[in-house]
Symmetry: C2
Subunit: 205 residues, 2 copies
């Protein structure tokens, strides 16, 4: 009923399963996924255009100059950004686009796209979050503690998100996120044209 | 995360399939369903306490006097009302309660329960609505025209509802309504306590 697609921003604590949730939203429901650009080196197995668009610093700088990102940021010595062209093309075609993005980026997006749907994924509690990080078995204590500290920082912005979704059971979490987007589409404000239309049809019958 | 249940009000055009949607929400997702009280005579096959609570006029009047309804109305010469006790008990137990109710009743509910979720079910267009009414084969033209006239009246209040859901495919419609209620549960405003809790847990780790 709505002509323009929704911009969906998904953030959440490290280790909460954002990547899996986003992948499943794309595969199960056909959402479009925005792929970020970065100047960092590809890791083993990463594919250009699928995991990231890998750019040189000069290329990235040029894209900044030409307003090519809807948001970008520097972490440590690498740049990360969300390419504008793809997002805007998809939205104007009526497709819903997902961005998986850090808290600061999300706040930037909200300023530019006030209708963006901001969703924060969390574990049921802090212990559970810590156990998940530890459970990966690949990280040592120092890394886990650093991530938990980062989680504390991220939690400061949780209340800026419109929706808080607990990823306890993966399938439920995915259905809930999809439900949130469907609900948005059904909101009165997004259906005023439909309402006028059916009223006028009823009058003419 | 939320302690109190949601009050869900479902209205919609005659013939749009409200009854089926509501029944499936109860059977598929375990929502509580409020059963209305009425002074009209039971029709064949109707069961007291399942389809309606059948009351004498004196009993109904007494319930009105004792604030026993959260809303009631008179149509033609019969009274219809939503018993207060069941709804409030279910909500305070944290269960989501569905009311299938007319437009005027829905507006009454909204005044008393500002957090109630008001959902309006519609057909994709007016022709489709008319075809569904005709398709039942049980109604003559006069009845159909009367219902379409009533649909026009009801459409005047559509924009008072927070959500407009098109019942085109039944399963999709049911999932969408469930999604709307799930989304409500995830709204930031309903999770402030959870946010404080996890913040304080993260600080203590």
């Amino acid at each position: 009923m709505q002509n323009k697609g929704n911009l969906i921003v998904i953030s959440g604590f490290s280790g909460v399963g954002k990547g899996t949730v986003v992948k499943r939203l794309v595969s199960d429901y056909g959402y479009s996924l925005s792929v970020s650009a970065t100047t960092r080196q590809p890791r083993e197995g990463e594919v250009d255009g699928r995991d990231y668009y890998f750019k040189s610093v000069a290329e990235f700088q040029n894209l900044i100059d030409y307003n090519g990102f809807i948001e970008w940021a520097q972490y440590v010595e690498n740049y990360y950004g969300t390419p504008r062209a793809y997002v805007e093309a998809e939205l104007s075609e009526g497709r819903d686009v997902i961005l998986e993005i850090e808290v600061q980026g999300a706040m930037n997006i909200k300023r530019q796209y006030p209708d963006a749907i901001l969703i924060f994924l969390t574990a049921p509690d802090a212990d559970c979050l810590k156990n998940r990080l530890a459970g990966r078995g690949t990280e040592d204590d120092e890394v886990i503690n650093k991530r938990m500290k980062r989680a504390l920082e991220e939690s400061e912005n949780m209340s800026e998100y419109e929706y808080i979704v607990i990823n306890d059971d993966l399938d439920t979490c995915i259905r809930t996120v999809h439900g949130i987007i469907e609900a948005k589409r059904c909101e009165r404000e997004n259906n005023m044209e439909f309402i006028s239309q059916i009223k006028s049809e009823l009058r003419q019958l």
